[in-house]
Symmetry: C2
Subunit: 221 residues, 2 copies
């Protein structure tokens, strides 16, 4: 069990993250254009090597910060991909995460530090992806949809206070189907996780009560 007992090369370990956000009423993912071979010019999930002294989560957060400019994110480990042939350059095991970022917490993508071009893509309009990244993305989407039903992660995609209608829109966009307004409100409110505030939304129409997620567990870094 000791790394020093046996003398063989270890596999490389990377982390990758599917970063979802909602922009322009669409579910979008952050992708990076690869500047080097293999798959030069293809789009790929942001990610990179895990340093020896940082945890997996720290590695993801660092990469997200550098490559995507994402500041406050919900982060969850997705799956570890380790097929020997998944990277043509050699053995690379990747621990995939999925992340949710509220649009308000995004710096502009083009501000990425390295030369790589980063861009948001709508899920309905995805380019071909490098490596097994399409498979990873599909898995992430499935997980996101599943967790929406029994958890509170949707709140990571919204500002601190929001009208119920906006929350419903998030659900509808992610699940890609319309929801009944009254049933949605009944159910969400019955969970007891939302707190109405005194604030009202502005804008052209009837002002909406803004709600707050109690004990917001969104991780910031």
């Amino acid at each position: 069990m000791s790394p020093t007992e046996e003398s063989y090369t270890y596999p490389a370990v990377t982390v990758d993250a599917i970063v979802f956000t909602i922009r322009q009423e669409q579910l979008q993912v952050a992708l990076i254009k690869r500047g080097i071979e293999p798959f030069k010019g293809s789009w790929a999930i942001p990610g990179g090597f895990v340093r020896l002294d940082e945890s997996l989560e720290d590695a993801v957060k660092r990469e997200l910060n550098e490559e995507v400019g994402a500041d406050g994110v919900y982060l969850e480990q997705l799956y570890t991909f380790g097929e020997p042939e998944r990277d043509p350059r050699g053995r690379v095991i990747t621990v995939a995460y999925f992340a949710l970022v509220a649009a308000e917490n995004l710096r502009e993508l083009t501000a990425a530090t390295d030369a790589a071009e980063a861009q948001w893509f709508s899920l309905h309009d995805l380019p071909p992806l490098a490596f097994d990244h399409r498979q990873i993305l599909d898995l992430a989407l499935g997980r996101l949809r599943a967790k929406l039903e029994y958890s509170t992660i949707a709140y990571a995609l919204l500002p601190r206070a929001f009208p119920l209608t906006q929350l419903q829109k998030v659900y509808e966009i992610i699940l890609d189907r319309p929801l009944d307004k009254r049933n949605f409100r009944k159910k969400i409110l019955s969970l007891g996780l939302l707190e109405p505030t005194d604030e009202r939304s502005g804008g052209a129409h009837r002002p909406a009560t803004l709600y707050l997620f109690k004990n917001s567990q969104v991780t910031f870094f």
Copy 2:
């Protein structure tokens, strides 16, 4: 992104597996007594290094075969643990799996190839575990219980054909609470995944219809 581009040491990568079985009407896990430091003499989850040319799943299956003598198993990736300090000897990232083995598919544990002593422990009577293995085990148990509710994995713990009562017992043992017999049967049968056979159970009492899991997806190796 290339393993050869940067020159630093990689973390070591291991796989570990929580192997569950049901023996003596109890949920049990396979543990291995460590023969070397650190944690020499402690009990640990079976596992080992991933070879450069084998997939993560293949690595787990190999280890299970060698250390636990498990032949036909349900195998599912659980979580990847990568805290820098989780192993005192250096950076070791472990991909944890959980496995289910039907008692009938078990060779005796003492037949393990290396000198390490392997043994089954009831979940109600666990020794202290090495490393962060207790945390891994707790996570595996939670996952097993959760999946029992919405999946068919319980069948991996049973022989090919079995009476409904035995299936119910498996549920009760894992969930650690009694279930209503009629409701259980109604629900299980309404899923349409079981097929009654012509076989009947023998034994001292009224013979039971044996059921078969349609499209048994248990993985064998």
